[in-house]
Amino acid sequence: MSQAAIHTDSLGKRYRIGQRARYLTLRDRLTYAAKAPLRWVHANGSNGSPGGTRHIWALRNVSFDLREGEVLGLIGRNGAGKSTLLKILSRVTQPTEGTAEIRGRVGSLLEVGTGFHPELTGRENTYLNGAILGMGKREIDRKFEEIVAFAEVADFIDTPLKHYSSGMQMRLAFAVAAHFEPQILLVDEVLAVGDLAFQKKCLGKMGEVAHAGRTIVFVSHQMNQIRRLCEKVIWMDGGTIRQAGQTAEVVGAYESAILSGEASNRVRRDSPQAKAQFLRWEIVEPRAAQPNVLDKPGPLVLRFLVDAKSPIRRAHHGIGLYDADRRLLWGTALKQFHLDAGVHQFVYHLPDLPVKPGAYCWRVTLWDEEDLVDSWECVPDLLVATKPVTHWLDEWAGILNIPSRFEVSPLEPEHVEQKQG
């Protein structure tokens, strides 16, 4: 039972720069052809490729073996090539070079709710989504009751999806995904959304799956998820494998690299479809060596940069602070403000952030009325490096890092009697 379920040999994927940025029109092709000779003069070997087209390798030289029943975690910063690798393995896109061999029925979850149609009912969408994921009709028939129970939408199963709340839609999408049982499962960071209680439930289900002898490749930014689910981890960096091996070892190395401030990829990659996008975040006050490190107690100022490609008339904005176990520690929301096109800063003034030292994550969202425009789990993590004033044993330390004053003094006997009386 230890045959290689996935074997890859120097996989590489090259994109033309801007290829994903927008679609071409014939006019582009024509103007490109007209400018091409000129461009050749300009480029003149400066960037290597003929004709002046520039390419980037999103993935290069990726070779690894995964045995049947193993759970592999893929970690790395945004743009490190994790998702590209997953897309190649799930055959959504082709590699430019190299090969991969996969033994077993593959299913990929790069997104939940793929193919959901708002006009169709919950029941119809369950079948449709299941079929798109790769389940047969009979398989869905068999699991249907379970899926509906898991999603907690039994009363609305014959209502069109457009009348569902976004939470209900998400739950149904997850429920279908969670009941999808291919021999080899490729999962992108789909668990990062949805409400927390339900996320836990899904994680529980994933854990069951992981321990049922299924081969899984799992992308996540949540190191505690990775620790809980994976036996092996590959750390991707700049499109190549930086380190591969046992989970504890690789995750440890990754975390210490992040902690030592090697978080250059602070700026998000442009995604052209979004009306607006969070670009980066930083702690303005107090200044530390790293803009994501909080090393002093007391008042602080945070800043989130948002690039609005077009004006948003009725913007809503939410922020949440999560700890490493994905517990929501604090959150607030602002309703209905106007956002012009252009780059804006969202500034928060907090009197204090008295949480115990460790890694935390901001999640910021931007809505245009009901529509989610952008949701970002801020990278890098917020690292709180204040002096701990909590219990020295972690399990007793709790969440808050609040200084306390303590004194012992004898109490006059008459007061004691009063109390007891």
Partner: protein, 288 residues
């Protein structure tokens, strides 16, 4: 929560474990029929979705499948028929036009649907693998339901004009197949091109219009000089439309030469479409 937690079914290892080899595609192939067969259930679901969704939130619903050819038939009968007095092979104008509009309405909608399907489904395409050719196939198949509905009105029309279909009617499935394949062939080309160049979406309405006048819709193909008939037949819809008229009413001649030329053109169209589409398939998720 414990109540809803379920046991994960043990894996059932079949004797043949499917092995997939992933590499950059080289060379030209048309279609992997075995794989398409393996995905027939997904094809069925796509067709089913298309049909379910088409007339949601419309007041008249499926009646549109009848209204479209019916309205055009009225306009054609009035202008081309009663005013321009175009010959109609001895058929009453409504029958003459409706016969032609049955396959034409199907073709025009199916072809446009297939052209847009890749762009419409880009979210699915960029997230899940399946043979991409399933999409245009599903799109042209789902249009057949409309065609079937449009037939419902045609039957009383024949009865009203006392036209009894002859034995030629057994040829109807052949012409239907030809119509489906024509829509598919054009759809394969245009949907792949549309993924690359969004200009296609603006070209299609013109294409449909020109194609309409290049087909024996408003006039019988007998108006085309006999020595050019084969060239005219290279438009597959010429064979399909004349075929429908002949098969449904028994009027006119069996479209021999026209059918031969149209069939040849369709085979070429579908094969080249498959090759082009298949070549695009690997990178479609990157460019759409």
């Amino acid at each position: 929560m414990a109540a809803t937690q379920t046991q994960v079914a043990p894996l059932r290892y079949t004797h043949e474990v499917p092995v997939v080899r992933i590499a950059a595609r080289r060379g030209w192939t048309a279609l992997d029929l075995g794989e398409l067969l393996a995905y027939r259930e997904l094809l069925y679901f796509f067709v089913w979705r298309d049909i379910k969704v088409r007339y949601k939130q419309t007041v008249l619903g499926a009646a549109w499948a009848v209204l479209q050819p019916l309205m055009t038939m009225l306009v054609f009968s009035l202008f081309f028929g009663m005013l321009a007095k175009i010959p109609s092979q001895g058929l009453p104008y409504p029958v003459f036009y409706y016969c032609a509009l049955l396959p034409w309405t199907y073709f025009a909608t199916a072809m446009q649907g297939a052209t847009n399907i890749v762009v419409e489904q880009q979210r699915v395409i960029t997230k899940v693998y399946f043979p991409r050719v399933v999409l245009p196939i599903a799109s042209v198949l789902s249009g057949l339901v409309d065609l079937a509905i449009a037939f419902v009105v045609f039957m009383p029309m024949l009865a009203y004009y006392h036209i009894v279909p002859t034995a030629a009617v057994i040829w109807l499935p052949v012409f239907m197949l030809l119509a489906v394949l024509t829509a598919l062939g054009v759809g394969l080309w245009l949907s792949a091109l549309n993924a690359l160049y969004r200009d296609v979406r603006f070209v299609v309405p013109f294409l449909v219009q020109y194609w309409l006048f290049g087909s024996p819709l408003a006039y019988p193909s007998s108006l085309v000089p006999a020595k050019w008939r084969w060239l005219y037949g290279l438009n597959p819809m010429a064979g399909v439309i004349e075929g429908f008229r002949w098969a449904l009413t028994g009027h006119g001649e069996p479209p021999g030469m026209l059918l031969a030329a149209s069939s040849a053109a369709v085979v070429l169209l579908v094969l080249s479409g498959l090759v082009y589409y298949h070549a695009m398939e690997g990178t479609i998720a990157d460019v759409v």
